[in-house]
């Protein structure tokens, strides 16, 4: 909302035809009585709009009042800082008054009379105090033919151009969106201020008054189309799932065997088992093919078992062959420290099952590098031990060779 209806009627009172008999000074007083500094810009906008629409502000004294107020509101500041200074510059521009009279640009200010121009020129300079002791009506009737015509406003124009250059192009390109369209069929039956005031009110009051809108080249902005895609909607299929809570049949059946076997296994990770223990363990494993999964042998524990009880390790590994985790056991086996026991385990495995060739490759290359290390480091170690190690290593290797001729 530019102005409240009450504010507008105050303003219209001050610039009314009737008030033009008051001096400029008293008009100024009345104005400042009604409006504070905060309202000045909004009031000024309305005054400019009225100057642009001559049918709403037809008389010269009224225009003088409007121009005076536009200047008066900001008189304490430098002229170029007055937001309406462009209005003054436009009206005083000598070239504009020449050409534009034939083709008035819509929305632009219609030309003013010579007394008005004289008065405005006076405002641009340091105006004599007695000027404001006159009334608008008196000024409008002044004979100004003798007065100097033009006042130099180039300084003002320069300042204005500078300020405008800071504005976005779009703002500079705007017109007021208010176009006069007098009906040619209707005769101008004289000015009726009450009709005019009603129109003014509909232009400047209310939410989003026409005064505030502007008109400039605008872009067509089509909205993006909806995303096109196939198979977006949720299709529902019945699938009759049968997932039910289950009874645990291992209740009270996990018996001593399991406990005992686990106890034996725990020992087997630490030290060689006695012959009866070993027989018991292997016997139970033989009885129940699923028991092997319950004995607590994880891949990480395999090296301990291999070192302490290679025979047990072989049996268990053979039983784990179908497990999905067997490759993990293999990789542990390949990567553990070389020893007679581990070689024996591998050897026995190769005789019993088909091992993946890549596993054997890896194992042999480990074998070789370990043998070399032994040579370097332990030259002094008893020849007997070494040769035993080496002999068995070579033997093992040889056996592998025979069985897997593919290995280059």
């Amino acid at each position: 909302m530019t102005l409240a209806p009450k504010e507008l009627s105050n303003l219209l009172g001050i610039i009314s035809e009737d008030a033009c008999g008051n001096t400029f000074e008293s008009l100024s007083n009345a104005f400042h009585h009604c409006f504070g500094k905060a309202e000045h810009f909004r009031v000024g906008s309305v005054l400019v709009m009225l100057l642009q629409q001559p049918d709403l502000l037809p008389s010269s004294p009224q225009r003088l009042t409007a121009l005076y107020l536009l200047w008066e509101m900001y008189r304490t500041e430098p002229l170029a800082a007055n937001p309406f200074a462009a209005v003054f510059a436009h009206l005083l521009n000598p070239s504009a008054s020449g050409e534009e009279q034939e083709k008035p640009l819509s929305g632009f200010l219609p030309p003013i009379t010579h007394p008005e121009k004289f008065f405005l020129s006076q405002l641009m300079l340091a105006p004599p105090r007695e000027l404001f002791k006159k009334t608008p009506r008196q000024v409008s009737c002044m004979d100004v033919s003798s007065a100097p015509q033009a006042v130099d406003i180039s300084g003002l124009q320069l300042a204005l151009a500078e300020r405008q250059s800071e504005l976005p192009t779009q703002s500079k390109a705007s017109f007021p969106s208010l176009l006069s369209d007098p009906d040619p069929d209707s005769s101008n039956s004289g000015f009726d201020s009450s009709v005019a005031n009603q129109i003014i009110e509909s232009l400047v009051t209310g939410p989003r008054p026409p005064l505030e809108s502007h008109f400039r080249p605008e872009f067509i902005r089509p909205a993006p189309p909806l995303l096109v895609c196939e198979d977006e909607l949720a299709w529902l299929n019945p699938c009759e799932p049968e997932h039910r809570v289950q009874w645990d049949r291992s209740m009270c059946v996990h018996n001593g065997t399991g406990v005992e076997i686990k106890r034996i296994m725990a020992k087997a990770f630490k030290s060689p088992l006695s012959a009866p223990q070993q027989t018991q363990l292997l016997g139970e494993l033989e009885k129940d093919p699923k028991l092997v999964y319950h004995v607590g042998l994880t891949p990480a524990k395999l090296p301990d078992l291999v070192e302490n009880n290679p025979l047990v390790a072989i049996e268990i590994l053979l039983k784990l062959m179908s497990s999905s985790q067997i490759t993990e056991y293999f990789s542990v086996l390949v990567n553990m420290d070389m020893s007679l026991h581990s070689m024996e385990v591998v050897n026995r495995l190769t005789t019993a099952v088909d091992l993946p060739p890549e596993f054997i490759h890896l194992y042999i290359s480990n074998c070789i590098s370990t043998c070399e290390q032994i040579k370097d480091k332990y030259m002094q170690v008893s020849v007997c031990n070494l040769s035993a190690d080496k002999k068995s290593g070579v033997w093992c290797w040889y056996r592998l060779y025979l069985r897997n001729p593919r290995i280059g």
């Binding site: 629409q53 534009e100 640009l105 819509s106 192009t169 779009q170 390109a173 969106s177 208010l178 176009l179 006069s180 369209d181 101008n188 129109i199 989003r208 026409p210 809108s213 008109f215 400039r216 080249p217 605008e218 872009f219 067509i220 902005r221 089509p222 993006p224 909806l226 995303l227 096109v228 895609c229 196939e230 977006e232 909607l233 949720a234 299709w235 529902l236 019945p238 699938c239 997932h243 809570v245 289950q246 009874w247 645990d248 049949r249 291992s250 209740m251 009270c252 059946v253 996990h254 018996n255 001593g256 065997t257 129940d288 699923k290 999964y293 319950h294 607590g296 994880t298 179908s322 497990s323």
Partner: protein, 711 residues
């Protein structure tokens, strides 16, 4: 059959064991037999006496809870969950601790917990337990191992991870080489292939399903689903109709409301056929059916009082999703918004759903969308109001940009109303949910893998990489529940659409930098449809104008930037991965591609020229602007000249000092009243190539027009 359900074998049951007495063993056997016979009271009695003898074994307590649960008709899911939690906390601290084979002993406990999570739709919890169990499959008795696998398969399918499901199914086939139970596997495979949109593989599987269980509702629905995806809509309808849904036992028994599914699927089919009014009719019917089912079931949130399986019967959110999409396409964005807002509470990680919400907001703020759905410009007035009469009559021109710019004042953007501010939030979510751009030259080994991926899952190593998190192929699909996951090309299309909407929304909110940013990103997408490329240039130009970079804007407005306005990426480029191959639809009832505005290359170019004219105006190059305006006007049907263009004509006349002509243009709402190139139907065909150097065709003007030309 409960006898099948029993899991761990009793072979451990050897004689003289010190821990468990013969008496206990006998009671345990009696309790189990009573349970199997459905005599839960007797079973519970045995268990109670057993508990007095044996205070150690937690399994007595668990079986007691299980028996109680069955005694109530499986209707005390919440209670059972509590008891199992307590037991588990005594046994073990966390599922993550299952790393030793010791835990095989607790497998039923974990399995039961997974089952409950599954029925409470806590799928990720259920999956994490299931995957742990899967690691120790071998010790399990075959039937239990299968139960674990099928549960996981179902969970993978429910969470749209079809590749994992397929891998598991191949594992299952191996498991049951000895066993003969093959039922159900085909169904699962078809569902997985459908999710992967591998229609060729699907066709193979569906044959065997139809051979074994051709007349059951599940197989008929699956076949219908398959035909629907191929575009054989009438066949799909026929198949649905041939399933005898009246005889279905109903949701309380099976946990599935087949009638609701039936109506929903009919809705999907009619949506795809472009018969949107029927589509909405069927979706509403499905929703009614679902509401009816839910009323029967009572409050499912309490997890008691209804059979556990029925906890999964409610399909409200799937239906709301479908309904929302359908309403959006029918031009009722506000109703669509309400449906989708409810759905997004469940499917909040679906990027496409967030885009749809934004599209609702855009459509709701666009004004009359009916014009545009027909491929015509919107008819916004150019006159806002007329003030005064006679001598005082004044015209107030309508500013199009204030019609376009919408701020919803006084509301927080976080409160979901269909505003442009909320659209911006939705679009940000959508973008965040998309994966970062991947390199476009796919690595050679990746490529070979994906090409052979559909049939060769079994060739991989035998260890459980289906459970080891994301395989490389996994990132090919982006989840989009409740729809099948998105393939790479679909993700890229989605990304383009999100960026276009983001730019549009940012412009509407006056956030020009963001708009430019989004438009630039859009224009840099490798596979961009002609239509979105056009919009990208248009939006970028408008943002640049507002940022006072007129020259940059003009570069975007070169009409040669528009070469096609199709919505899709050209079919030759599209989906290298899909194996539709020879499976083109046999029906001709093809899918409808919606028209969008502008629908032809020439109208799109005209739109660019109109905007170019506006840009020239801002640089005070009025002659160039006039040329653009006239050339553009000659390219489109006079009735399709957008209001912005007419206002540009008004502006140019006013700028020229020709108020009278400007007023005439306004009153007739026409740009060039006398020039009407007959709008031939050729207009919709491919236009002649645009030649920028070509002088503007001489346009015959009425004398009053030429008179007022300046100089």
């Amino acid at each position: 059959n409960l006898a099948d359900v029993a899991a761990n074998d009793m072979k451990h049951d050897s004689a003289d064991s010190p821990g468990v007495s013969d008496q206990e063993k006998e009671m345990a056997t009696n309790a189990f037999e009573a349970f199997t016979a459905g005599n839960y009271d007797e079973s519970l009695k045995q268990l109670e006496s057993l508990q007095e003898l044996n205070k150690e074994d937690y399994k007595i307590a668990m079986n007691k809870a299980v028996a109680e649960f069955y005694k109530t008709g499986q209707a005390t899911t919440g209670t059972l969950k509590q008891i199992l939690m307590t037991i588990k906390n005594q046994v073990h601290s966390a599922v993550e601790d299952i790393d030793g084979l010791d835990d095989v002993e607790n497998s039923i406990l974990y399995y039961n917990q997974a089952i409950i999570h599954y029925h409470m739709r806590q799928y990720s919890e259920a999956i994490s337990i299931g995957e742990k169990l899967y690691q120790f499959l071998e010790p399990f008795e075959e039937k239990f191992a299968q139960a674990v696998c099928f549960l996981l398969v179902d969970l993978y399918l429910l969470t749209f991870q079809p590749e994992k499901a397929l891998h598991l199914l191949t594992m299952l086939e191996k498991l049951s080489v000895q066993g003969s139970s093959k039922n159900g596997k085909g169904d699962y495979k078809v569902r997985a292939y459908i999710q992967m949109k591998s229609l060729k593989a699907c066709k193979r599987e569906i044959k065997s399903v139809m051979n074994t269980a051709g007349n059951s509702a599940p197989s008929l629905f699956l076949k219908s689903n398959f035909e629907y995806l191929r575009g054989n809509y009438r066949k799909a309808v026929k198949l649905l109709n041939s399933s005898n849904i009246a005889e279905h036992p109903g949701p309380l028994k099976t946990g599935e409301c087949v009638r609701c599914m039936f109506w929903n699927n009919l809705g999907c089919i009619h949506f795809a056929m472009g018969k949107h009014n029927l589509g909405i009719f069927y979706f509403k019917k499905a929703l009614q059916e679902n509401d009816h089912t839910c009323a029967q079931l009572g409050d499912a949130k309490k997890f008691t009082g209804i059979p556990m399986c029925a906890l999964l019967a409610n399909k409200r959110y799937e239906l709301l999703y479908n309904c929302g999409i359908q309403l959006l396409h029918i031009g009722r964005p506000l109703a669509a918004f309400e449906c989708l807002m409810e759905a997004v509470q469940v499917y909040h990680s679906n990027p496409r759903l967030w885009l749809r919400l934004a599209e609702c907001c855009i459509a709701a703020n666009k004004g009359s969308s009916e014009q545009e759905t027909k491929g015509l410009p919107s008819k916004k007035g150019i006159v806002q109001s007329i003030v005064g009469q006679g001598y005082h009559r004044k015209i107030v021109l309508a500013s199009q940009s204030t019609q376009n710019t919408t701020y919803s004042e006084g509301q927080s953007a976080a409160i979901p109303v269909a505003s442009m501010e909320f659209a911006a939030i939705c679009l940000r979510n959508a973008l965040l949910l998309l994966p970062e751009h991947q390199q476009h030259e796919s690595k050679p080994d990746n490529g070979s893998k994906s090409s052979s991926q559909s049939g060769s899952t079994e060739s991989g190593s035998e260890n459980s990489d289906a459970c080891s998190g994301k395989g490389q192929e996994g990132d090919k699909f982006i989840p989009a529940a409740p729809s099948s996951p998105l393939r790479k090309q679909e993700v890229e299309n989605l990304r383009c659409c999100i960026l276009a909407c983001s730019a549009y929304v940012a412009l509407a909110l006056g956030d020009n930098l963001m708009a430019l940013n989004h438009a630039d990103k859009l224009l840099h997408q490798p596979k961009l449809s002609g239509s979105l490329k056009f919009l990208g240039h248009l939006y970028a130009a408008e943002a640049l104008i507002s940022l006072d970079r007129i020259s940059d804007a003009i570069a975007h407005l070169n009409p040669e930037n528009v070469t096609d306005v199709s919505l899709g990426v050209s079919p030759s480029e599209q989906d290298q991965g899909s194996d539709k191959g020879d499976l083109e639809p046999v029906e001709t009832s093809g899918k409808q591609t919606p028209l969008c505005y502008p629908s032809t290359v020439s109208s799109a170019r005209a739109m660019m020229l109109f905007n170019l004219g506006s840009a020239y105006c801002l640089r005070s190059e009025y002659e160039k602007a006039r040329k653009c305006l006239h050339q553009a006007a000659s390219m489109v049907n006079p009735k399709e000249i957008p209001p912005e263009a007419i206002l540009l004509g008004v502006y140019l006349e006013l700028q020229n000092g020709n108020t009278q002509l400007a007023l005439q243009i306004i009153k007739r709402n026409q740009l060039l009243p006398s020039v009407k190139p007959s709008s031939s139907p050729d207009l919709r065909k491919k236009p002649p190539p645009f030649q920028p150097g070509q002088p503007v065709q001489p346009i015959k003007m009425p004398s009053s027009f030429t008179q007022v030309q300046r100089k």
